[in-house]
Symmetry: C2
Subunit: 358 residues, 2 copies
């Protein structure tokens, strides 16, 4: 299949730090090439890929992300003017790029699908509603998808991680782990409460850069830390993977409907079960009793942590890899692209060349 | 001709106050309909037009102009998804809309032309350069056009005004008139200096809303006002037309390359000559010695004001109307649209339907 893959222009693929969307697009692109597909990747020129790289900006213009909205348009236009070279175009960029995708899907007939990477806030719902007749979508969780009831989805495909880069251990240390920003939504204060009630060791990882994070940590987390609890700040990737690998379990006490939750999958990849509150994407990520426990209250979280020994680390990793590994991720996208091709053109266009459906 | 006319969505057509672009698009649209063309106007739903009105927003969302960039895209998308209904599409909106126009011109084959309404600043030059192979442009002055040497223009068409709504008088009062914002670029301080040297009456019209305007006026204008000089602030349209009609001449002492300069045309319509510095569009608007005088220094401006009696008010208006009236404006656009149609498709697309040029 000839696939045009539009990454955001702001960070190189794969990203060297910040850039969650870019990381996922990189995994998908490399997987599709290894699977034998003919992929043209539209990304910044400092990206590394097995695909054919096409770029307008030779270096990712990350410093302009807040001010120069035209860059997204110039970047996407380069891809969409070449629409007829592809069997399908997959867009991971912003609304202006998707609008061009809708035009191409409707008027040129090249199927375009856009992955929704963010939550269903009001502005996103309102703007995307204008594309509903002319564009198809991929959701990253059923929870996220329910936030866009008017859009036409071809698939729900959870993000993948590269399990090969996640070390595994069946032997666990005795600490609990929390990974997340220091804000109310992520619930570090609940992780501390749970650890206190269990008189357990706890390691906290997560950034404190912004004023709100500093205030939250100083008011709701720091005063409750015992001698067995350790806030590590932000850590590099290898340290993070070691911490996942050796933890007794990872606590995911979120207080809001997290649309995806990469932390859960990273922990399961290390063979470390996750105990999480039932919000947002959690029920779609954790297999209750096999890769962790889903709970509703602090009491239940305390009780579940006592039972994490029941979960087999090897099964935890295996189940997670089946669902969130790259092979499944790539195959799900190929299936989605084929569904899109089978659907045929949206009609009205290419009269006399392809049959219209309107 | 079936014409799709895309106005900005932010103010209704015709505008009830602010909205210079909307005013010009309204004059063009009504003129084309009167000329027998089949025009669909894409504007806010509270617009008034003889054309077929198509809208996404039933009320102009002016309060969102600074924050909701997606509105421009949703608005333009409605027009461009219907590209095949038109012989030509004329875009007056922002960069995101033009990018969609470039896609349609290139891939669908419907000719799209965009009028440049603003100056050639660096961000505009850089972003529009990405459209140069796929979009055609109309400039509003030769000066503006020279700022975009890489773009492909089909015409330079100065903005028009509706001469019927400008009262004329051959009899003039003895005051000089200045109309413009209170900022250095517009040169009110020079108008005051010229009037002082001539011991002449002077009426100043123009807005002071922003801090920079207040500071400029307090520092460079107000201290120099004599008893014969009167700052009127912003005035309503009928007052402005009376002031134009009765002035001895209008001073246009701009200190920067004004890309268009509507004030000059409004004054000439009233039969009132304009004395202006040679910057930007000025040489393209004033017919030196027939509708005013073009000068280079304050000394020359003083001398020219002494000579404005040489200019015949009736000839001033007639010459201006020939060049900046609606009939000429509409005819120039129809000619530009025909040139665009004669040029044929940009190639690569519509293979087998129209001959490609690449």
């Amino acid at each position: 299949m000839r696939i045009g893959m539009i990454a955001p222009p702001w960070f190189p693929l794969p990203p060297q730090g910040y850039g969650g969307i870019e990381l996922v697009v990189s995994l998908l692109t490399e997987g599709l090439v290894r699977d034998g597909h003919d992929v043209t990747l539209f990304a910044s020129g400092d990206s590394k890929t097995l695909a054919r790289l096409s770029f307008v900006y030779d270096r990712a213009p990350r410093e302009l992300i807040a001010t120069a909205s035209y860059i997204e348009i110039v970047h996407g236009l380069e891809a969409y003017t070449r629409a007829r070279e592809f069997d399908v175009i997959h867009d991971h960029d912003g609304f202006a790029s998707r609008a061009m995708g809708a035009l191409v899907h409707r008027l040129v007939g090249t199927p375009v699908v856009a992955t929704l990477h963010g939550p269903a806030d009001a502005a996103t719902q309102e703007s995307l509603a204008s594309l509903r007749e002319n564009l198809r979508f991929i959701a990253i969780s059923d929870y996220q998808r329910h936030g866009f009831p008017d859009l036409s989805f071809v698939a729900t495909i959870p993000n993948a991680i590269d399990f090969d880069s996640y070390p595994f251990s069946a032997e666990k240390d005795d600490y609990l782990l929390f990974v997340g920003r220091m804000i109310d939504d992520k619930g570090a204060h609940t992780a501390v409460e749970v650890a206190r009630r269990l008189s357990s060791r706890l390691i906290l990882v997560g950034k404190i850069n912004e004023e709100a994070e500093r205030e939250y940590f100083a008011a709701k987390v720091e005063p409750l830390l015992t001698d067995d609890m350790y806030y590590r700040g932000e850590v590099d990737t290898s340290t993070k993977l070691e911490l996942y690998k050796n933890a007794r379990c990872t606590l995911f006490p979120i207080q809001w409907p997290e649309p995806f939750g990469l932390v859960m999958i990273e922990s399961m990849a290390a063979g470390t079960p996750v105990v999480a509150f039932r919000h947002g994407s959690v029920p779609g990520v954790i297999d209750d009793g096999r890769t962790g426990f889903i709970v509703e209250t602090v009491d239940e979280m305390v009780e579940a942590v006592r039972r994490v020994g029941e979960i087999d680390p090897e099964e935890c990793r295996r189940v997670a890899e089946e669902r969130f590994g790259i092979p499944r991720f790539v195959a799900a996208h190929v299936a989605a692209y084929r569904r899109l091709l089978d659907e045929g053109p949206l009609g009205t266009t290419m009269a006399g060349v392809m049959p219209g459906t309107e």
